[in-house]
Symmetry: D2
């Protein structure tokens, strides 16, 4: 046979079965298979690299992951600082709060009789049920809390820190909001108006006129300034949605004001949407390069999978492989209790962008 093509370098190594394989061993054996299995194994490797590097790691979270049983996985990632900053949909924070407050979601069926559920005031999320009465009690609880805040706009970052504090002080229970409070990890929620947390905030106005003001434009400024302060970043995205874009937007926005920002150095996404319909949720990481959202030499991987399969496996593997790295990780230190947050001792304004270089804007 003639000389080998340059394209034939590394053979596929078929996955072999043994008893007693741990999660990380399963992923290690997936590294040289194909398709999404390979991508998930690569995600494990990319995340490990992020942790060894000096980068601020953003985690974006969309889809019904909290209702669906992954809230303590995300809490674990926050508490052990596999990630430094959470960007979430409101629903994920709300369903987290629901359980942290001692209420539950329930196993259900996707073939349910929805009229019967409606009669019982049970809300369905695909194969998962919850009580509408309990949801209304959450809304009230949020409204009551929001009515105690100062009558001024809060960024979602500041509001959610205070909400996490209140929740921790009330419940002492683990969850995403309480983990972020305890670990001083900021949470942004750009679409908070599109969630039951927003509904709770809106109901605060019924109790206290002019309550429930959220400064989401301040979140844009603050998140960009965070990147201007620490220009090396990584992005981990579960499920697309507004968090995916918000993390990328922060990087693009920061680049307008600082030459040192050059897109995420690492990017990992676990999504179920596909690129062919043009939506942002399913957009490829290659496309993200064209926008400058990713450094063109970034380590990146996209996994086409349901996060309820991929994330438990991936995090269980990291719990084995990343422990030594986590112990020595260079991670940003935040203070979040005030209107102005800090990172590594520096103020992060929500009022105006830090201009490190001559602005291009």
């Amino acid at each position: 046979m003639a000389k080998r093509s340059r394209f034939l370098q590394t053979p596929i190594e078929p996955f072999t079965i043994d008893s007693g394989l741990t999660a990380d061993q399963v992923l290690a054996r997936m590294e040289r298979i194909s398709f999404q299995g390979r991508n998930l194994a690569t995600a494990h490797r990319v995340w490990q690299k992020m942790l060894k590097d000096d980068v601020t790691i953003f985690l974006g979270m969309a889809g019904a992951l909290s209702a669906g049983g992954l809230r303590l996985v995300v809490a674990h990632l926050i508490l052990h600082r596999y990630v430094d900053c959470l960007v979430s949909t409101g629903a994920n924070l709300y369903h987290d709060l629901h359980e942290t407050r001692g209420q539950r979601h329930y196993l259900g069926s996707p073939q349910a009789d929805d009229a019967a559920l409606a009669e019982d005031r049970i809300d369905r999320v695909y194969d998962t049920y919850a009580s509408e009465e309990e949801f209304i009690s959450n809304d009230n609880w949020i409204a009551d809390f929001a009515a105690t805040l100062q009558l001024r706009p809060y960024t979602t970052r500041e509001f959610l820190y205070q909400l996490g504090r209140h929740l921790w002080e009330t419940t002492q229970q683990d969850g995403i909001l309480t983990a972020a409070y305890r670990a001083n990890v900021p949470i942004f929620c750009p679409a908070i108006a599109d969630s039951s947390i927003g509904m709770g905030l809106s109901q605060a106005r019924q109790k206290t006129p002019n309550a429930g003001h959220i400064d989401i434009i301040g979140d844009i400024v603050e998140s960009a300034n965070l990147i201007i302060r620490r220009p090396r970043t990584a992005s981990i995205v579960l499920g697309g949605g507004t968090p995916k874009n918000f993390i990328n937007q922060a990087s693009v926005q920061a680049e307008f004001y600082s030459d040192e920002v050059g897109g995420h150095r690492y990017a990992l996404q676990i999504v179920t949407d596909q690129p062919a319909f043009g939506g942002a949720s399913g957009s490829s990481l290659e496309e993200a390069q064209s926008w400058g959202k990713l450094a063109t030499d970034s380590d990146r991987v996209s996994v086409q999978a349901d996060a309820t399969i991929a994330l438990p496996l991936l995090t269980s593997a990291l719990a084995n492989t990343a422990a030594p790295t986590l112990a020595t990780r260079k991670r940003p230190v935040f203070t979040l209790a005030s209107r102005v947050m800090t990172v590594d001792g520096h103020d992060v304004s929500s009022e105006r962008f830090e201009e490190v270089n001559e602005s291009t804007v």
Copy 2:
């Protein structure tokens, strides 16, 4: 043969080909085929029913529809009042503004070399390109405009009305924002912070301290009050995302304060996500019933299709079939120029919910 099963009532009528078929004739022949073709034909029929009934029709719009060439379809739907209220992602309004300002998107390839695009500062949306420089000029234009506004929070509804007016006065060009301005159709944008419109607003703070305040919680109150004022509603959703949920949330929220609200009477969605991963974008209209988002006897249809195929065909068909209905349609009359909008002459507060019955909250 024994007596017919009750399940075998209406035979499939195979689609037959003739020359010269118009869009509505194509859809009429799809009514008795199967799968998504039948669903699209049913969508045509459901939309016609909405127009004949006395309902407020909400249109939700996510995905890259404006960049992808559907902005004048949506503008047509607004100008001719096939719909009464738009809920959109920021990106769709931004890419609309981009073209209304005389700039363009361009045919591209999904197999593009994204590093080369990045070098030329060309941003890619799947198979579509645009100039980053032009985008920066839009951001500036929005920032300049936002810096002229009063230093107080605006709901997105009020802000987008003013933006549409400014755009119309500047350009006299057709588009979504200008059509909504001219037709007095309100636009809500619950995730405005997650878009380049939000970025423009944030940059206004660089020009005028304390500019760019958006009251998204006010949007929640206002949208619910709109439904409390006119309790019979319909929902048309393109592509899921925050608009889909926001429209449903408004109905659920309104129901807390008014017994007359009972979920959308009609629901039509054109989505590419599927239900099996639990996300809201792909969630079924049956599931929506369990939440009270839809009346349990609602007319509803979900079409699994890319809106760039489904919407031009559907709207072209309606342009033939709905013209007489549109002429006599009972549609809500809005005023939008002020902090407090009105519908049919009544104020719609963004400060507190109208309580029509004893509140359940």
Copy 3:
């Protein structure tokens, strides 16, 4: 602004709505939008080009299109020779035969109670029902017919021609099988064993020992020889599956024996699967180039859409735009009644490959 990037050549032209648009006008206005709408418009153009060129056009057909109401569209494509050779799953031919024999499929619901359907012996295909008793009567009818054939292997092409003839002589009704018989268009069914037509053939053995022998390996030889005889080909694929691969395989196989074969000159696929899971149904046309299935300079387009939407629209458009081309089209002339088929007067063996050049095998 600096000189224009080479990437910004052709602007998107937003779709505009007018009343009375015909199917081809709708597609013409989709040519310069984005995503799958653009792809469907391109499919229209690519098919027109095929018809003007001197190529043998293969149509592959998978998915439940016949049960789902598209059998008369396919029959139209065959009768008017938009295509020259059909490769189908057995199910599509079976459900076609079911209706040609005067029986029907019925409108149903995807939320049906399947246990209740099972009790009534109603079989469900997503939102479509049919009577199991009628299916059993089809199986018998096929078995009876197969038992009348000679006790020797038939290629599926020969068997299906005879089946089409028998069906036409019995019913005089339009359908895929009868259209192919009348238009002398060959049908291959490589997975006939995986269908109710195969079940009917197997039941023939109960009636006549040693009946129902199908020479599917002969189909491979025959389909490749067809391409060796007429090396310029085009491929139209609906829904992936075995037909997609069989058409490509015939081209690859033919290339082993003839230097003149160089992959399909045109390729058009309408699929719902995506490439990311590695399956052949969702594989891209770019990938097909690597295998030599497509000429590297082929005109090609892949549309991500349900065929029940895309095919009626596309065929209705072609009925307007392609009529003059069809009248003068250079199309292959087949005889199919015998064990050895002919094309343009030449025998097409199922016994051995024609070797036009020195074999590479």
Copy 4:
């Protein structure tokens, strides 16, 4: 709060992270989360139940699993008799043979330059490459082998057993075909004509006139008789395609001739297609009940996931949890070397159906 709704029975148990979790522990913690994670955990439980029951377990296999690195997982399932009968696409057997013969597939990229690959004669399967020359050598090897067989029709079951034997005798290497040969597990390949194994068979005719005759209709009879002999069955399907339907068809066909057959008692599918487009690959297991393919009280679960993620995890878990069950499992005993196979000492005809009860046909 009022009495609990009947719908709220079993709470979701959020997944918790610990170090050192084995594959089966990961799945055990997924049992009470939601969406596809729950489904995969349920699949683990359903498979365990199958192994404890006295059922013939069919495994269907479509998609590029062998090329993609799962062939030794499937070989493991066969050798240790987690399954009793394999139904496969030809491609999976071919890519298995390719590696068993000492050749490899290679890591590649989905963004490859396919024209460059074509020039180097490298064939791409999404992110995986292989040498076309090596493929041609396989075709020849198969053709040479097929030319040594008797000049009579072989069922795919008989042919593949002989092919597995020849492969084992030549290579002594593990793989799907050699495992099935060594474990006396039958393989059916209903669409063998649509694969490179079929191409090899067709090329045998170039060497020996009238070679390469496959009796696929005999496969239908044989597979149904197998179920008539052992009426309790289970179905495990990876990826849909012809294997999924063939396994179901065998059950339906068997039911025509025996009252004791009542559909599969267990069904587990791991698919990436969705039901909404009507295709058989994505069809739901509920729908399968309407056809009598599944017993109405069957244990069943459908997992929407890429098999390259789901299968290694699931099989690694079973390697821990199912070992004791496997040791005592009641499994059918086959002889496969002859034209007439046997199960548990009884002949299984491919010539006519065994009629246990009065035929309904």
